[in-house]
Symmetry: none
Subunit: 486 residues, 2 copies
Amino acid sequence: MLALDDEGPLHRQTYRALRGAILEGRLRPDTRMPSSRSLAKELGLSRNTVLQAFDQLVAEGYATAREGAGTFVAGSLPSRAHGGGKTEQGGKVESARLSALGRRIQTRIPPGAASWSLRREPLRFDFRYGEPGYADLPLNTWTRLLGRRARRLSVRRLAYQPPGGAAELREALADYLARARGVVCEPEQILITQGSQQAIDLCVRLLVDPGDTVVLEEPHYTGFSFCLAAAGADISHVPVDEDGLRVEELDSIGEASLACVTPSHQFPAGGVLSLPRRLALLDWAERSGAYLLEDDYDGEFRYDSRPLECLQSLDRDGRVVYVGTASKILFPALRIGWVVAPPALVRSFHDAKAITDTGTASLEQLAFADFIREGHLERHVRRARQRHASRRSALLEAVEAELGDRADVIGTGAGIHVVLRFESLPALDVGRLRRACRERDVGVYPVAPFYAQAPEHAELLLGYASLDEEEIRTGIGRLREALDTV
Amino acid sequence: MLALDDEGPLHRQTYRALRGAILEGRLRPDTRMPSSRSLAKELGLSRNTVLQAFDQLVAEGYATAREGAGTFVAGSLPSRAHGGGKTEQGGKVESARLSALGRRIQTRIPPGAASWSLRREPLRFDFRYGEPGYADLPLNTWTRLLGRRARRLSVRRLAYQPPGGAAELREALADYLARARGVVCEPEQILITQGSQQAIDLCVRLLVDPGDTVVLEEPHYTGFSFCLAAAGADISHVPVDEDGLRVEELDSIGEASLACVTPSHQFPAGGVLSLPRRLALLDWAERSGAYLLEDDYDGEFRYDSRPLECLQSLDRDGRVVYVGTASKILFPALRIGWVVAPPALVRSFHDAKAITDTGTASLEQLAFADFIREGHLERHVRRARQRHASRRSALLEAVEAELGDRADVIGTGAGIHVVLRFESLPALDVGRLRRACRERDVGVYPVAPFYAQAPEHAELLLGYASLDEEEIRTGIGRLREALDTV
């Protein structure tokens, strides 16, 4: 159907051929584009080449990327499109001249997808993932500590603060992380960030050049992949199973700058990286020269056994950049995260933070330091773990009772979400299932956006931390009803 | 055989010691562990403590419990000589493999220079620049508003927030900026950032590629130059005079991606960009395809006439990215800044912010929105302007009286700092002058770090917002004494 014209690089030829098909109406407005895989096959090109062409079509407004659904021909074409080939490097919005990073953000990240805050619907049984149990929070204590610090603001506290963060918080965190997660560090190695996302972004900026190979779990956290897409990294996806990243498959990857991993509770599939794999991963990092970004986003919550100590505790070699967040143990709007950098990278992280934003706001850092030092955090985490364990039991029992062998539950050992896998439901039916759930006041979320190559069967991500047991049971019951209609 | 390391509870110490022995092969795979009873005796611990350590080793896969036969070292660990203790965590500084940006940060930014928070000395007459009048702040009001918002935290406020910032603050700012600075925008064009530094960093990331030409004032704000150095920009320095940037010299510069300017009060030299130059600058931007980053860091404070409206208010073409901050009108530790992006760049700024840190913490945004909407900000700015005017008069009179024609004062029309220029004092003597001042409890600061090519005569930067009139007079008197000794 498509003919390439032999001029310029292959992705440019592909882009021109597709643009021609769109302008001539052979690819019709608002229809799904052929899959990059099948096009690559048809044209005898690498999939990456086709994806580059797609990126450019999206950038120029000939096509749109819909989250989890693929790429579609645009419904209304930009008027200049009809003129032909003049806008080949322009942005979607006329006249914006962006850097390469700016263009990659525009073309490689689906509109709105980078924001965790969107798409909130007022559903009564909302299995929204990625949020903590708000009902468990000791908010009175938090408000009291915050108020105490606010009333004591002195000139020293009002002025510019050290870019690494408040000394009080770095010391309190070094103690807490040693006790709770086995992190081995001095307070000087800790950098306080704007949530874990800034930690990830700084890490990628400091360690990854455009074209560098970076290993990513498949499925993966989009907080990694969006940053890496913006950075122009060449992402190598390595699949996970119930024991986390299949580390043995790393051997086929040569040099890499970085691997982004979630050993405590793989996001989203939920496996806990086994000890032999942890050691093998560290070995690989040494051999390949890669750093390991360990995102320990919910490592506090493990149920069937003690929490595993973090990967960083096994790192003899300074390869692990450990990243954590207050979003799951307190709440996301706090925007406090941390990096524990290996000694060789400490100064770079602090300098990068200084030129990025001169440092994170201090008031809530100080309140959080008090919260840790006065024992509130560990008390809260202990209680939340019990509450989550009870919610988790309710969920697993309800799924067993309502869905039986229609779904597998995976990733149940840790964290505050699970994945429901429907082997006999095609991925295409997820949209209908979600709508049927929504009609019953139930919110469920597809795993597909977290895959580079989504599986052919349906998978749902269910967070359970912000529901109580009764709501969980009712919600799963209604999910079953919804499933019956699909 | 085992040595404990004195950190954390005894069972944790025991666990670490045993883990070390296993990883180093002193306890060999598939052999029986020493009995808990004998270990307890050897280490002088309770047997229960040792059993807790065994439990953890088993939980993590270092050992296996065999029914009726005791605990055995695991058979399947990859061989890996391994430490795991704090002292063994290494990583040599010279071995850190950084990205091009990471290397530029390391090589092009003087150590520590990127941090505004350093070098604070307890001097009684400290003419430190870049900080507001802390004594003028309505802190009680601020604390009250903050407390009110803190007590009203709801789930909606605790969850992830829109990356662009709180709607309340963006609306309040759009109104305030229109009234106070002539900014022309919709709330949707505003992005709340971590202080103005993040606004600058996002702007540079979105608009500047390595090797791109970027125009910078000479002397210039280092918050620009450090970001640009990290980005690998090719910086063209254009001198300033008492009317700000010498725009006519831009004609020798061809294409540029960006010009970073401070039209309201040139930092650090203090000129106010004249209207003809503003118009010429906008013309140049259109011709050369450059964006203009307008950093309006202290535009509220002008004394001899009304504050000039900002450059953005003259922009018909979407060339100006307007940047502001709460650091001078409230206080720096707040870390609230804003971008007003031209329409074509709005989405890019929001997406970049989302992948950078998912958004700025919300509590202080909401308190700041209330502070603006209830009229406190404009009342405070009005009062602070009067106080600063009075401090400025005291400073100018004292300099005239004490220094006469030994120094020129420049940049006095606006802002909260001035430059003292000592035409007959060599730049080399600034160090001696500062030491002589310090001995007299007076803090003064060299302008030299803000030049790409510092002049041959001495120049000092004097902030006056955080001193009262009496302190200013005494401080300048002592500066004269110090000068006499040099």
